[in-house]
């Protein structure tokens, strides 16, 4: 007799999460709630971009924010103080990303009958968040100028799952070797359908375009 018995499994470890995410998306559709998953490296300006974007949209649609971090609640407090909209903090307990189950637990703390758009600010990281479907309707990522134009080559999965790539910190462009056209080319090599929107969250330049893109997605989702 063989010392071990082999049981065949043949299952992707992402399979359960993918199913869970698809279920969550369907539930959100029924409730008329649009979930945006916002990803980036740490320090690319996610929270500042959100504050600027929310300021342009909060009189037209009802918004809530979920901030995911390994620890602390500085981002949730900052969003609430700056915009006045409901904002909750999720702790991932050391995990480097959110999955559909964690997203669902977060949404349980949001009154979904009172919102049109929930923005999930994922953990700052370009690797793991791209692998785990959160149940969001659209994925957005922010790449900031100081990070370099070559990031789409180094983190291809992140760029291939995004519907929109926001290029932030355009105001510091003169101080860095960052070629916007080259960057767009790299992004489109990975993902020909990705929209690319250059902005400066600090001054607000370009944020109108991102806000308009987001509003259109939310309206389409609620209409369909």
């Amino acid at each position: 007799m063989d010392p071990v018995k082999v049981i065949e499994i043949k299952k992707s470890i992402f399979a359960d999460n993918d199913e869970d995410a698809a279920r969550l998306r369907k539930e959100l559709k029924e409730k008329g709630v649009f979930l945006l998953n916002l990803m980036s490296s740490p320090g690319s300006g996610k929270t500042t971009t959100l504050i600027q974007t929310i300021g342009r949209l909060k009189d037209r649609i009802r918004i809530a924010v979920m901030e995911a971090d390994i620890d602390s609640d500085v981002d949730a407090v900052k969003i609430k103080e700056a915009t006045g909209i409901p904002s909750i903090q999720l702790h991932t307990g050391g995990m480097c990303h959110l999955d559909a189950e964690m997203t669902r637990q977060g949404l349980d703390n949001v009154d979904l009958s009172q919102v049109d758009l929930v923005i999930l600010e994922n953990v700052g990281n370009l690797v793991c968040p791209a692998e785990f479907d959160t149940g969001a309707v659209c994925n957005a990522m922010i790449l900031s100028v100081p990070e370099g134009e070559d990031k789409p080559l180094k983190y291809p999965l992140m760029f291939s799952v995004c519907d929109v790539v926001v290029i932030n910190k355009m105001d510091v462009l003169p101080y860095f070797d960052f070629n916007l056209e080259k960057c767009k080319e790299y992004i489109h090599m990975r993902n020909p359908k990705a929209q690319v929107i250059p902005i400066c969250a600090k001054t607000g330049e370009g944020v109108d375009a991102f806000a308009a893109w987001l509003l259109e997605q939310v309206c389409n989702w609620k209409k369909q």
Partner: protein, 116 residues
């Protein structure tokens, strides 16, 4: 630590499979890991050792890794080529219209249980 997160998902799925097959003890887990799955095998086995030993079901169980070579397909000239060596650009015709056929797997192939 990306691999630690992955290990938690592996443990969850192995526990589920053990329950379904009424298994009390697992001695090995065989993974299919694609060459371009962003997982570093050494880190994965290190994280596995740390996390698996905290579970009665998995204490001492070995994580074995089967590497799946990454292959890309060219939509223009229909060539198949090694992704790690050539990336997104087809080495035969220079086209950028290519897609990954395999090599991003993170899959539990099988589990091994002691035969009693």
């Amino acid at each position: 630590m990306h691999e630690l997160g992955i290990v938690f998902y592996i443990i969850r799925d192995v526990k589920q499979a053990a329950l379904e097959h009424s298994v009390q003890k697992v001695s090995g887990v065989v993974m299919n890991i694609g060459e371009v799955s962003t997982i570093i095998p050494d880190y994965l086995t290190d994280c596995w050792r740390w996390a698996a030993d905290k579970e009665d079901l998995l204490r001492g169980a070995e994580l074995k890794i089967n590497t799946i070579p990454a292959v890309t397909y060219c939509e223009d000239c229909h060539a198949e080529y090694g992704t790690v060596a050539h990336g997104k650009i087809c080495p035969r015709c220079g086209s950028e219209h290519t897609c990954l056929l395999r090599g991003n797997e993170v899959e539990i192939k099988e589990i091994e249980v002691p035969n009693e």
